[in-house]
Symmetry: C2
């Protein structure tokens, strides 16, 4: 099967809704290349281009793409093979009213800095940083409510999670027929936390393979598989609540794999791997709970 | 200089106070072995030994140890060389009213599980886990208030941070003459987050070298150096606030090293390294902000 392509010109969304018209429909097992815009739709091309307030439409997600046969209760599998930066620079910005240190002394907003990218490295004010591209917004059609592409929730969305990167596989609950996945808002580099509110926002091409997993596991939220670990991902009003959800999800998986009581699985989760921060800046914040594969072999 | 030894029989504290009588006084550069009890003072020796409520005295910290010449404004350096488990088992417990998922369905408290330890591995309900000992409580005499050894704050204390491990170096602000450091509450293994409220609590011997750094940097909170990164550490009422403090501290260091504005340092912090969770269960919670050494070479 040759690789199919979906471009942002074919379709992009600014809201994950339960009902959406697919831009494309593919078979399970399809290899795709998905082209994505930068999160600001190209509005920042120089340090002097500043963003006064969060645009009403931000984080364009290319899609949605329907997967034939994906039904509620299934799990959508997206194997991320490569994320190629397709413009000569990304940009990192501050916006008034947004970011971990928003409003604190000596934090100026709005400000923008272009980060030229060449040979797999970006330059921030002359500081050389190897790029490690990340998909910021990735998700499926939600169960009931709609979420703008600025918000992360159980459907995925604006997860801003560094593990959404090449060589990792993302899993999402299927809430609607065809799953209807979309993605965009890539960063050439991003810290865990995304403190100032952005990474180096950049347009990309993403090579991936999409598949459908039929499983008895009732996946409620996104999950990501790295070479070393399985990580549950949860978004909530506070990091504490996100940690609670991510930990609850991990405990279910550990209890099943090792035939432990819930309390014992909780204790095991307190010994191995641990909680990680995805982002602390979006309208809901996101945490994950990583379990090394030695303790969680194949949770689906 | 031969290695000096300080045992918990010589002295241990359950509160970090501004004024404390030192158990021992050492010169800068002294190599020490510090013996520590388990956090529960040996109360749990079998699965049937449960802890109904958090004891009034918990996390005994061996010390305090005065360092000759350490004065307010200096930085205390503790190079952690080795942490040896000195009993045949640790224990992981739940206590009613404590832990990330306290009170949630199917989470039973109090419960205890012994974790036998042999040849560098522990066994939790038959599951084999390599040990990676961590110092849970480590700190110095605070500036003004006193803190029980259950509480982490700017002086350190119950940081429950996995980076307090062999091969890493911890730095603390010196608030009082002699610094007056103490440590205990070690775990044979612990997850980032310490979700159930403990790791595998265990008695240890810690080999370390203590020194005093004279620096122009006004260190406000603990800092830890790993082989790969420098990490600021902050404790607060919420993880969000702890993240803010840890990020502010990182930004100061980045701005100084790279001659950046505060806003630019904030942007750089949003591109490299990132926020990490130490623990989400103590009376104050703890986060850290890691910056790879490529971007922060020698902040002190």
């Amino acid at each position: 099967m040759s690789r199919e392509s979906v471009t942002h010109e074919q379709g992009a969304i600014y809201e994950f809704a339960p009902e959406m018209d697919p831009t494309a429909t593919v078979e399970p097992g399809t290899e795709l290349t998905i082209e994505t815009r930068d999160s600001l739709d190209g509005a920042v091309q120089a340090d002097s281009d500043v963003i006064e307030e969060i645009p009403e439409e931000v984080n364009a997600a290319t899609g949605p793409i329907a997967v034939d046969g994906a039904s509620p209760g299934d799990v959508l599998e997206i194997e991320i093979e490569e994320i190629r930066v397709v413009e000569p620079a990304g940009r990192v910005i501050t916006i008034d009213g947004f970011g971990l240190l928003d409003g604190q002394p000596r934090i100026e907003a709005p400000e923008s800095r272009m980060t030229p990218i060449e040979d797999g490295r970006l330059s921030f004010e002359g500081i050389d940083v190897p790029i490690d591209p990340v998909i910021g917004t990735i998700g499926v059609a939600p169960a009931e409510e709609s979420y703008t592409t600025l918000v992360p929730h159980d459907h995925g969305g604006n997860l801003d999670t560094t593990d959404m990167t090449a060589g990792h596989t993302a899993y999402f609950p299927v809430f609607q027929e065809g799953a209807l996945f979309a993605m965009g808002d890539c960063k050439a580099a991003m810290a865990d936390g995304e403190m100032c509110g952005t990474g180096s926002e950049v347009a990309t091409e993403i090579d991936l393979t999409v598949d459908v997993v039929e499983t008895d596991v009732q996946l409620e939220r996104p999950l990501v598989e790295t070479p070393e670990a399985w990580k549950t991902i949860a978004s909530a009003e506070t990091i504490e609540t996100a940690c609670e959800l991510a930990n609850r999800d991990v405990i279910e998986l550990l209890a099943t794999e090792h035939d432990l009581s819930t309390t014992e699985a909780y204790m095991l989760s307190s010994l191995v791997g641990g909680l990680e921060i995805s982002q602390v800046v979006d309208p809901l914040v996101t945490a994950r709970n990583a379990i090394p594969k030695a303790y969680l072999s194949d949770p689906l």
